[in-house]
């Protein structure tokens, strides 16, 4: 039994917005950069396919004493990804891709959330679950939407996560979705005793599910409740599986490991928006490259009233709340 209650959403079919083409330019990215990224992607996929054919045998002793993922030679990475693809394909009965698309130089992702627009409909919560292969039973959700009283302002102690989404937006209330803030000074990363979680060069904090020992220090350390544990065997119906996965993101997880939002690393690293940004019916969610002066996220930071959550903790989030109106 999950302690989290089921959270209803209006229009529960969700209606995932039309996915943009996987090679579309990132917000503010030049077409040439997007092209080279696509080429890189193709060659990476080719390598993975070749390794799939070459590899055989399901259990790998290397698994137990493998080097840290960031220090693994490329051919070892290929072998590992190929083996995972075989395992997942066999388990779910459909072809699963496990990519390892690297961070692009000159990219530092940032996220904006317009509190004056958010209506608390929770469509983002479920789009995230569909995209990122979270366990459906027990339920795991990376985005928590807090309903707050306008009179009390941002006061988590007075917030409610279990409001009825059919009644939103309720008068006198505002809605504040919270997920991983991809802190520049992440308290979760330093507490991990085995370096199973780290910050990537583009600022995304990731977890290696093959290394996590499940001690949950990072969950105790996170001030945003962004880390979630697979308390039981994650149950994901094959029909619901999103087969386009990333090693450091939405690939299927085993029980006993911690998982978290990666700003849809499998999408954003190939130039797409995170699923939550795409689905938001009111356009409250913005995403882009903080290092690109022309990006929308930079425009927001320069022209809107921006604030970060729990700034007194010096976590230095790259997740900015703002009021557009």
């Amino acid at each position: 039994m999950s302690a989290r209650r089921h959270l209803p959403v209006i229009g529960s079919d969700g209606g995932a917005g039309a996915d943009d083409a996987s090679g579309a330019p990132l917000p503010g990215e030049t077409p040439a950069a997007a092209r080279s990224r696509r080429q890189f992607l193709r060659s990476a996929m080719g390598g993975v396919a070749a390794a799939t054919l070459a590899g055989c045998g399901s259990f790998d002793l290397d698994d137990l004493f493998r080097k840290h993922f960031t220090e693994l030679p490329p051919e070892e990475v290929k072998k590992l990804l190929a083996r995972l693809e075989r395992e997942y394909t066999a388990k779910f009965g459909k072809e699963v891709k496990v990519a390892n698309t690297a961070a692009k130089p000159g990219v530092q992702f940032g996220y904006g959330l317009d509190l004056s627009r958010c209506i608390g409909c929770r469509r983002c919560v479920y789009a995230c679950v569909r995209e990122n292969n979270q366990s459906r039973d027990p339920q795991i959700q990376w985005i928590r939407v807090l309903e707050m009283e306008k009179e009390k302002g941002i006061d988590t102690a007075e917030s409610n996560q279990y409001y009825d989404a059919a009644e939103v937006p309720r008068p006198g209330h505002f809605y504040m979705p919270v997920a991983c803030h991809q802190c520049r000074n992440p308290p979760c990363v330093k507490t991990c005793p085995v370096r199973a979680t780290w910050q990537e060069p583009d600022g995304i904090v990731v977890v290696d599910y093959n290394r996590c020992v499940g001690c949950r220090c990072c969950m105790a350390a996170c001030p945003y409740g962004a880390r979630h544990f697979n308390w039981g065997e994650p149950h994901l119906p094959p029909a619901d599986l999103n087969p386009n996965t990333h090693y450091l993101g939405n690939r299927p997880r085993p029980k006993g490991v911690v998982e978290k939002c990666t700003w849809c690393i499998q999408r954003t690293r190939v130039g797409r928006y995170p699923a939550c940004v795409e689905i938001c019916p009111v356009g409250a969610r913005k995403f882009g490259n903080l290092l690109d002066p022309e990006s929308e996220i930079r425009y927001i930071m320069e022209h809107k009233r921006v604030f970060i959550f729990k700034e007194e903790l010096n976590t230095q989030p790259k997740f900015y709340y703002f009021y557009a109106t």
Binding site: S2, R4, K190, P193, G214, A220, L313
Partner: protein, 419 residues
């Protein structure tokens, strides 16, 4: 050869004993079986068989772990008064303290193991072999100091017992530095465990500099409380002798430690209630409940009452020297600190959670079974170690009591033919 005989001797000591001893061991083995049964269920179904969830992600296991680190630390810190007051049976006190420390650390490591989502990946903690995040992660520090402390105590005890078994005097040059080293090591294991909580910015209840001093103060109460009862049991059932004065002296020291513990707690209560910031929420959850959620409230007050009563008992010389009230005080301290440093520390740190949600944690049957098994294992380790140590230290059992088959053959060949 001598080592083999020593091991054989140990084996002989633990396999022979009174009916009461055997019944006790069987009882503990039974409880360990219960624990294994609980753990097998948890291992196959995952930690979902515990009551822990994302909101309260540490619970009964980590609470017990924290309490037992205190016991392990304080058992050896008792060596300090043994030196300061020149107790006669100093070697015996040192050995008993270290045996208790070994048992407590064994339980600590088992509780951490039981709490892990992937215990088979624990080799990752081994420096060079795994990818330990040292020195940044406090759990990495904790795993290192706990294991070092375990090895240190095993070395000292092993050496003392082996030499006594051989009928030789122990090597002062080895034992004294190691015993002296074990004192700061004892302080450090509990300090590092406190820092494990202390360094978490997300949890205001733990993120207070007073935490480590409070850990040490309460450990100076709970560790000796267990030892005082053990001293009395052992001097009744074994030739082990310890004077009343020594016990009363420890009890007096416990009164001071408990005063300091209560003082630090009062300082925290004042700070939180008088300043009345958002941080008060967690202490309110502990002492009065929040929005009708008050699972911990009776426990919190029980702990406070136990600690204050025990302090008064140990403060007054008359009640301190009466063994009935003394033992009552020990039990009160044990219960008080067990609540305070166990669930009373872990749960309010995480309730309400970082987004203000209140999930009321209380352990499941599986958690209770596993915990019972771990405690039984700790008691078994301690029982067996004491069973070995007491006769050897008392000089009642040594190399001459152990005969290998080769000795038997030798004895037969040299025996008079008429025999």
């Amino acid at each position: 050869m001598a080592v083999l005989k020593f091991l054989l001797g140990c084996f002989k000591l633990i396999t022979t004993g009174s009916k009461a001893y055997k019944a006790w061991v069987v009882f503990l083995l039974g409880l360990i079986g219960v624990g294994i049964h609980g753990y097998a269920h948890q291992f196959s179904h995952g930690l979902i068989s515990t009551a822990m969830r994302d909101q309260v992600s540490w619970g009964f296991y980590i609470g017990n772990f924290t309490f037992l680190v205190g016991v392990a630390a304080a058992a050896v810190m008792l060596v300090i008064p043994a030196y300061v007051y020149h107790w006669e049976p100093i070697k015996e006190v040192v050995i008993l303290g270290e045996l208790l420390a070994i048992s407590a650390i064994t339980m600590c490591l088992c509780f951490v193991m039981a709490d892990m989502g992937h215990p088979e990946r624990l080799w990752e903690f081994i420096p060079y072999l795994g990818s330990i995040n040292f020195p940044r992660s406090l759990l990495a520090w904790d795993s290192m100091v706990l294991n070092a402390y375990l090895v240190l105590n095993l070395l000292v005890v092993g050496h003392l017992l082996f030499k006594a078994f051989m009928g030789q005097h122990y090597n002062k040059k080895i034992v004294y530095p190691l015993v002296l080293l074990s004192i700061p090591a004892a302080v450090s294991i509990h300090t590092v465990t406190a820092f494990l909580y202390n360094g978490l910015i997300a949890r205001p209840f733990w993120n207070a500099a007073i935490l480590a001093p409070r850990f040490i103060a309460s450990a100076f109460c709970s560790g000796p409380a267990i030892l005082l009862i053990l001293f009395q049991v052992l001097r009744k059932t074994t030739p082990f002798r310890i004077k009343n004065e020594a016990i009363w002296k420890v009890a007096e020291l416990m009164a001071y430690a408990m005063f300091f513990n209560l003082f630090l707690e009062a300082a925290e209560v004042f700070k939180e209630y008088y300043s009345d910031t958002e941080h008060l929420l967690y202490m309110r959850y502990l002492y009065t409940g929040v929005h009708g959620h008050n699972t911990l409230v009776p426990y919190a007050w029980t702990a406070l009452v136990c600690n204050i009563l025990a302090f008064l008992i140990f403060l007054h010389p008359k009640t301190r020297r009466n063994f009935l009230t003394l033992n009552l005080g020990c039990l009160l301290i044990y219960s008080g600190v067990y609540i305070e440093k166990g669930m009373g520390l872990v749960i309010p740190g995480m309730t309400p959670d970082t987004l203000g949600e209140i999930y009321e944690y209380s352990p499941t049957i599986t958690e209770l079974k596993v915990a019972a098994g771990v405690f039984a294992l700790g008691f078994l380790v301690f029982t067996l170690l004491v069973k070995i140590a007491v006769p050897i230290v008392m000089g009642q059992f040594g190399i001459n009591n152990v005969r290998t088959s080769r000795d038997e053959a030798l004895a037969r060949s040299t025996a008079p033919a008429s025999h």
